[in-house]
Symmetry: C2
Subunit: 241 residues, 2 copies
């Protein structure tokens, strides 16, 4: 397959695109995800082009790619704005994740090579150990995503992988940045991951799918409960500069 990537930082795709529009896409994407450009904010082409030291051409292209990633909304003759992740959108995102990643887990149980399964288990052990050493850890969520990422890739379905890792993944990252205060420090995820990898090792697609779906559905419920009351009062654009 590819090189044995496992770190989140390594996930960055499109790294081999030395073209200006490619570079601008990466820069603009990170600026949006990290909140340097606030949700709902308008993307002024001349201003941003100046800021990124490129012409409007490549910048426009970058914007269109971010539209495809659903990080940006665009209206003809009006302009592009950063998406605002209100609760409804996030819950929708988790329903889609449940469907896609559930199927990914099932396919992984069928297709994943023994070597990749072994790597997945060692990754889990790594996270478990880190979790024991640092009780109030915040690497939890990143570790969670490493795990999911490996399973998705293990599905062997390129379309599925593209949809999850190239598009929806960045939406999730953006949401995580905006709500990084509420990092769930429960080690429940660790237990559920343990069950999941067991199902994959047993080559049980149905069980793997069900476990993954419950895992994500639980996360969705937790989000709903945490954000359901406050909604837009505490989810403000956040001056995270």
């Amino acid at each position: 397959m590819n090189k044995s990537s496992s770190s989140v930082a390594e996930i960055q795709n499109q790294t081999d695109d030395k073209t200006l529009s490619g570079q601008t896409t990466l820069a603009l994407r990170e600026a949006i995800i990290k909140g340097d450009i606030a949700p709902g904010e308008k993307l002024n082409e001349p201003k941003l082009a100046e800021q990124f030291q490129v012409s409007r051409g490549p910048l426009r292209e970058a914007i269109r790619r971010l539209v495809a990633m659903r990080l940006v909304k665009h209206v003809p003759h009006v302009g592009a704005t950063v998406v605002t992740l209100e609760l409804k959108s996030i819950l929708e995102l988790y329903d889609v994740r449940e469907a896609l990643e559930g199927k990914a887990a099932a396919l992984a149980a069928e297709n994943m090579s023994p070597q990749d399964i072994a790597k997945l288990r060692s990754l889990l052990e790594l996270h478990r150990q880190h979790s024991e050493d640092n009780p109030g850890q915040y690497m939890q969520t990143d570790g969670d995503f490493d795990f999911h990422y490996q399973i998705i890739k293990g599905s062997g379905n390129q379309l599925l992988t593209d949809q999850l890792c190239d598009e929806l993944y960045h939406l999730i990252r953006m949401f995580r940045f905006q709500t990084s205060r509420f990092k769930s420090r429960s080690n429940r995820a660790l237990i559920e991951h343990e069950q999941l990898i067991y199902a994959i090792e047993q080559r049980d697609p149905q069980l793997a799918e069900m476990l993954m779906r419950k895992h994500i559905a639980r996360a969705k419920t937790a989000i709903k409960q945490a954000l359901g009351n406050i909604e837009s009062s505490d989810i403000e654009p956040s001056s995270v500069k």
Copy 2:
């Protein structure tokens, strides 16, 4: 909701984009789906710009949008080519459909309004009648898609709807055009649709999801059997001019 659309021809989104790049996107998309530009063929920017009577700017933008729709592959400094739908990609597509449309059916069973369910049933009756009148019909597949389309929209999940109807839908259309000779004339789909709508009327999400998944999985199996032997011998670019 929206206007009560039901015809396939009416599905065309992006119709309100009077901009040149928008129009060019539609034209180029149809040219690719219908095979006027063959699978694997290179998209020559100056040539196509001349052909569509636009500058290279809007044309490039159209290409990028088709890349997002997965109808076109692009390599920096080399160019864009129409995707080639080999069997593997198509099976992958159907796995993704199974996951997403399964979830859509479950959500539709929960959220669809009684009025929309009634419209869905009348649509089914329309197709059944058409099927009885014309035993060797070829409206079957289009009717099939109308049905699926309405259920997806009935899910009430905007992200899910966008992913299926704005992106994957066109891939499916392209595949259908290329294999239009093998139109399955079985009325099995009609029976399965009947079961599905019953589950939705009963507000049974789990049953609806399972029926939808089996429905799509069966279609996948049929495709595998029909194309598994011949593969690239009969799926040639096809000079459908």
